[in-house]
């Protein structure tokens, strides 16, 4: 890896393969760790069904409870903006779609690159604001530990390096592109071992919450 091109070739080749294996196996292990614990049978006569109530909560928790929204609007709005911005940058940027197409043969229409650029900029600013909030809000500061800040960093870096690469703000280009890909690989490797896993486990958690309440006749 003596030159930027060698570096780019490594991150696009073996580096990516390693990250992908860790990402997929890690996620499978984490999901298995949760699911094999199971739960004991419930002998109380149910008042309502679990399945439908669980699925409803899975959807309804996407919107905040109105009273809580009023009390923590920044967390809610900031959370929406950066999550949506992150997914737009990841899945609607044409070069990303081409890469996915080349890898697994699936493709969909993207949006104009300058629009993705603007979204990425907003995402970056929001992520910085969320970090600031985490460092200053008494509740978030108390709850947060190294894992929270690591999760923030590995989420922030791919967006930031992508922005730098798009604007060619680091020379030579293969170096900045390589750094961008490397940052994504770091995210993939860190993902299964941190609370980034919530991106998968929230489905299980919301379902259980809704199912347990639904059994008692309450839509949670």
């Amino acid at each position: 890896m003596s030159t930027p091109v060698d570096f780019l070739l490594w991150v696009r080749g073996p580096g990516f393969d390693i990250a992908l294996v860790v990402f997929i196996i890690g996620i499978l292990i984490r999901l298995l760790e949760v699911l094999i614990l199971g739960r004991k049978p419930d002998y109380a006569e149910p008042r309502g069904g679990e399945l439908g109530a669980g699925l409803r909560t899975l959807l309804t928790r996407t919107l905040p409870e109105p009273g809580t929204f009023k009390r923590s609007p920044f967390t809610v709005v900031g959370g929406y903006i950066w999550h949506i911005g992150f997914f737009i940058s990841l899945f609607l940027f044409v070069p990303h779609i081409e890469l996915i197409d080349a890898t697994i043969g699936l493709s969909w229409p993207g949006i104009a690159s300058n629009l993705v650029d603007a979204v990425a900029a907003v995402t970056l600013v929001t992520l910085v604001a969320m970090l600031f909030s985490r460092l200053t809000h008494p509740v978030k500061r108390l709850l947060s530990g190294p894992e929270d800040y690591l999760s923030w960093l590995v989420t922030f870096l791919p967006v930031m390096t992508g922005y730098l690469a798009y604007h060619r703000m680091i020379d030579p280009y293969p170096l900045v592109l390589g750094l961008h890909i490397l940052s994504v690989e770091i995210l993939m490797v860190v993902f299964p071992f941190t609370k980034l896993m919530h991106a998968f486990t929230f489905i299980i958690a919301r379902w259980y919450n809704g199912a347990m309440a639904g059994r008692r006749g309450v839509q949670s």
């Binding site: 984490r30 928790r61 509740v139 958690a205 949670s220």
Partner: protein
């Protein structure tokens, strides 16, 4: 209660671990939104009362023993242990600072049922010896005497005599083969015997056969509150044995929140089998009698009144609409609080908090949430359906010099019965 040790505590934590709890811990991103749903945080502003923070000891057990990465971290010496010091420091958060009201479980964006986790975590705390004296004593009295307040059957028999003299009706005791066996809470026996009188009058009107049981009249369950499944099971089992011996079809859970959770939702799992009878909350039964036209009332309360939803009956119990229908039957000016039904705010004394002497100042402080809810409405009367809520609210209103009478819903219905000699 067997001797409490840290090892027993850790074992109890492990016994509570299951897929829901693991999915909840895996999903928490420390966004802090649960704090805004918790009256202990909103009324004190102290971040330590953030619901998910109350679970730190349990979270460590999960991470260190139920995740691969956590095990690696422990092996490398990078984990902080769960020791006596930690449990001692967290005890006031898990007990004094949580009423198990379940409001946090309704707002978590990733869907964590945090109050369920705290209920489970209490099993570890009590097994390790970290539970408030007030709750330990209540549990001890419940096991040895039969009631957390130390009420024995002769005390109930004395109240029965008074009620019989007042109403001219017989309160049946230990009658076999009737349809319903009614339970009471100690607080109803000692502070609100009107409830028993109301049952007698209503059941006479609708022609229901019922009984109390001298060996199992107490509905409350300190084991559920302190978090000891062993004690909870013992207390539930007394009711099950009595109900099956008397061959009743139904057991009526009284106007008490956690009693309903104990007998209706946790009970069958504590004894490890379904019951041979059904459990109904008194409000469920009254609503059924109303909708089928058997329960007949006359006249309306003129007072502007509102309903305080007891957390364990409404949000955690699923009895949501019944109190509304019943109130509209006898009240002409019933108004809802801003947050009501499953989003209602707790009175501040649920989950055993009312039994913790040292928590009194905190409890009165967090009552400010209910106080402001009431101030918004400007009501003359507050109706509820839990003797514990009722007492806690009365104390809170007295502390803040608010003159609002607090009434039990069953009693209010009984006051309006058609053909009742008291109303004639």
């Amino acid at each position: 209660m067997s001797e409490a040790t840290l090892e027993r505590g850790l074992k109890a934590f492990r016994e509570q671990m299951n897929a829901p709890i693991a999915s909840f811990f895996s999903s928490c991103v420390n966004c802090g939104m649960c704090a805004e749903a918790c009256l202990f945080y909103t009324e004190t502003g102290d971040p330590k009362y953030t619901p998910i923070n109350k679970l730190e000891p349990f979270r460590r057990i999960w991470e260190q023993e139920y995740t691969l990465w956590g095990r690696v971290k422990s092996w490398l010496g990078l984990s902080q242990p769960v020791d006596d010091e930690l449990l001692e420091a967290w005890e006031p958060l898990v007990y004094d600072g949580c009423t198990l009201c379940g409001r946090c479980s309704m707002v978590c964006p990733v869907g964590n049922d945090i109050s369920y986790m705290i209920r489970c975590a209490r099993e570890g705390f009590v097994a390790a010896g970290y539970a408030p004296d007030g709750m330990k004593n209540a549990s001890r009295r419940a096991v040895t005497i039969g009631s957390p307040m130390g009420v024995k059957f002769p005390a109930l028999a004395a109240q029965i005599k008074h009620v019989e003299a007042d109403t001219g009706l017989t309160i049946p005791v230990d009658v076999e083969g009737v349809d319903y066996m009614a339970l009471l809470s100690s607080m109803e026996i000692m502070n609100f015997p009107e409830y028993m009188a109301a049952l007698a009058r209503i059941f006479k009107q609708v022609g229901i056969t019922w009984t109390l049981c001298s060996e199992a009249f107490e509905a409350t369950n300190s084991g559920i509150q302190i978090g000891s499944s062993d004690i909870a099971k013992e207390l539930v089992n007394r009711i099950v044995v009595a109900a099956e011996r008397l061959k009743v079809k139904y057991v009526i859970s009284p106007e008490c929140g956690h009693a309903y959770t104990a007998i209706r939702w946790e009970g069958p799992n504590l004894i490890g089998r379904p019951y041979n009878f059904k459990v109904v909350h008194i409000l469920e039964l009254l609503e059924e009698l109303r909708s089928s036209g058997r329960l007949k009332t006359e006249g309306y309360e003129d007072a502007r009144l509102t309903f305080h939803d007891p957390c364990q009956i409404v949000r955690k119990g699923g009895v949501l609409e019944q109190p509304r229908h019943l109130l509209n039957m006898v009240a002409s000016d019933f108004v809802e609080m801003n947050d009501h039904r499953e989003m209602n705010w707790c009175c501040g004394g649920g989950g055993g908090v009312s039994a913790i002497e040292r928590a009194e100042a905190l409890r009165l402080k967090v009552f400010k949430r209910k106080k402001s809810q009431l101030e918004e409405l400007n009501v003359d009367t507050l109706v509820t359906a839990c003797a514990n809520c009722r007492l806690i609210i009365e104390e809170g209103l007295e502390e803040y010099r608010m003159e609002i009478p607090v009434v039990g819903l069953t009693e209010m219905i009984a006051e309006h019965l058609v053909g009742d000699e008291k109303n004639e």
